[in-house]
C-alpha cells in the first residue's frame, strides 16, 4: 500500500474536506490534529489513520511523520484565537511548523510539504493598482499574519521541497452569521475563494511536480472579484436583509484582488464561479425554508 499523506489540522473544516478529496483520489491519509477535535467521521474509515497530537510536542510530531510520503500542513491557530496570545500563536504556527519540517527531514528529505499560508500576510494593499502578486512585500496587520510570514521564511530556509499557498478568505456555501463588523471597507476590493477550490489547490500542490519550491496566491479568480459592499449585499439579498444592516471597517483590511495566473496554470483549482457559490447558498436557504 502507498505511504500516507499527512494532513495536519485534518479534523478541521477544511482539513476534513482535504482528507475526503485525497481518499477519493485513492490516497491513504494520516490525520493529525488536537485530541479534543471531532474525529467521528474519520476514525475507523478505510485508508484513514488518525493520530491525536500537538505541534508543540516534539514526540507527537515525530510520530506523525513516520512513513509518510507528503505533508499538507493546515494546523494553525486562526483569528480570533491567534490574537489572544502572541507567544502561543508563534509556538503553534511558527515553531510547530519548523518542528514538523525538521522531523520530516530526518525520515524523508524529498517528501512534498504544502504549507497553508494566507494572503493576509500582505497587509493593507489598497494603494496598489494591480492585483497583488506573490512579490508584494509582506506586512502583517495582526499576530496571525505575522506568524505566517515568520513560518514561511523559516520553512524556505529549512526545507527544500516546499510549496506555500497564500490562501484568500474562504467562502463556505452554508448559512453563516455575519461578523458584527465586516473585516474590510465597503469599497475595498475583495476576492474570496470557494472552499472546494481551496481543497483542490491543496491536494494538487502535494502531487504536481511543478509546485515544488513555489509560492502561490490562492483566490477565486475573475468571477470572484468584487467589492466588500457588493459581496455582502449579494449575501444579504439572498437572506432578505437590507444592506444597511451591514457594518464595514472604516480602515482597510487585508483583502484585495490577487494575481492567480500561475497558481491556476499549475494547480487548476478555480472550478467554482462566484455565481455557482451564490446558487449553492440559495439552495441551502431553500432547503432550510422547506424544513
Amino acid at each position: 500500500m502507498m505511504a500516507p499523506v499527512l494532513v495536519t489540522g485534518g479534523a478541521g473544516s477544511v482539513g476534513k474536506c482535504v482528507v475526503q478529496q485525497l481518499r477519493s483520489e485513492g490516497h491513504t491519509v494520516r490525520v493529525f490534529d488536537l485530541p479534543n477535535m471531532d474525529y467521528s467521521d474519520l476514525e475507523g474509515e478505510k485508508g484513514i489513520d488518525v493520530l491525536r497530537g500537538d505541534l508543540t510536542r516534539p514526540d507527537s510530531v515525530e510520530a506523525a511523520v513516520q512513513d509518510i510520503r507528503a505533508v499538507i500542513h493546515l494546523a494553525a491557530l486562526l483569528p480570533p484565537a491567534s490574537e489572544r496570545s502572541r507567544e502561543l500563536t508563534f509556538a503553534v504556527n511558527v515553531e510547530g511548523t519548523i518542528r514538523l519540517a525538521e522531523a520530516l527531514k530526518k525520515v524523508n528529505t524529498d517528501a512534498p510539504f504544502v504549507f497553508s499560508s494566507s494572503v493576509s500576510t500582505y497587509g493593507d494593499t489598497t494603494g496598489i493598482k494591480q492585483p497583488v502578486t506573490i512579490d508584494q512585500p509582506q506586512q502583517a496587520l495582526d499576530i496571525y499574519a505575522e506568524s505566517k510570514i515568520a513560518a514561511e521564511r523559516l520553512l524556505f530556509e529549512s526545507y527544500s521541497n516546499v510549496s506555500i499557498l497564500r490562501i484568500s478568505g474562504i467562502s463556505v456555501p452554508s448559512i453563516q452569521s455575519p461578523p458584527e463588523v465586516w473585516p474590510f471597507m465597503a469599497d475595498q476590493r475583495i476576492e474570496f475563494v470557494h472552499r472546494d477550490d481551496v481543497v483542490t489547490a491543496l491536494c494538487a500542490a502535494v502531487q504536481v511536480e511543478k509546485a515544488k519550491g513555489h509560492v502561490f496566491n490562492i483566490a477565486g479568480g475573475n468571477t470572484w472579484r468584487t467589492t466588500g459592499k457588493a459581496y455582502v449585499k449579494d449575501y444579504f439579498d439572498l437572506l432578505g436583509v437590507p444592506i444597511d444592516e451591514a457594518h464595514f471597517q472604516e480602515h482597510p483590511g487585508w483583502c484585495d484582488w490577487y494575481d492567480t495566473e500561475e497558481s491556476q496554470r499549475i494547480l487548476s483549482y478555480q472550478k467554482t464561479t462566484y455565481q455557482a457559490y451564490l446558487d449553492q447558498v440559495q439552495a441551502e436557504i431553500d432547503k432550510m425554508m422547506q424544513e
Partner: protein, 107 residues
C-alpha cells in the same frame, strides 16, 4: 420596517405572557416552560437570524402555537394544553437549532 421574524418573536412573547396570566392555578412546570421561552426569545431577538427570511416559516409556526396556548388558557380549556405545549416546545427547539448559524471562515 420591522423584519417579520422580529415581529413574530414579539408576538410569541406577548402570547406567552397572556398565557401565563391565564394559568393561575395550573401546573408549575407549564409556567416554567413559558417563562424560559420568554427569556430565550428575548435573547434571540438580538441575533441576525431573526432579521432574515429564513426565520419567517419557523417563527410563524411558533407564533401560531403560542396563540393556540393563549386561547386555551383564556378559555380555561386545559385538557388540550399539554399537547399544545409539547408542539410549541418542539417548534421552539427547531427555531433555536436553525438560529445557531455558523461563523465565517477567514484565513
Amino acid at each position: 420596517m420591522i423584519p417579520k421574524g422580529i415581529e413574530n418573536a414579539d408576538a410569541i412573547i406577548e402570547a406567552c405572557r397572556l398565557t401565563l396570566a391565564g394559568l393561575d392555578s395550573a401546573e408549575p412546570e407549564w409556567k416554567e416552560v413559558l417563562q424560559s421561552v420568554i427569556s430565550a426569545i428575548e435573547e434571540l431577538k438580538t441575533k441576525f437570524f431573526l432579521k432574515t427570511n429564513l426565520a419567517i416559516p419557523i417563527t410563524n409556526a411558533c407564533r401560531k402555537d403560542a396563540v393556540d396556548l393563549q386561547s386555551l388558557a383564556e378559555k380555561q380549556d386545559l385538557s388540550g394544553f399539554p399537547e399544545a405545549l409539547a408542539r410549541f416546545r418542539g417548534n421552539i427547539e427547531k427555531l433555536f437549532k436553525q438560529a445557531n448559524m455558523e461563523g465565517i471562515t477567514i484565513t
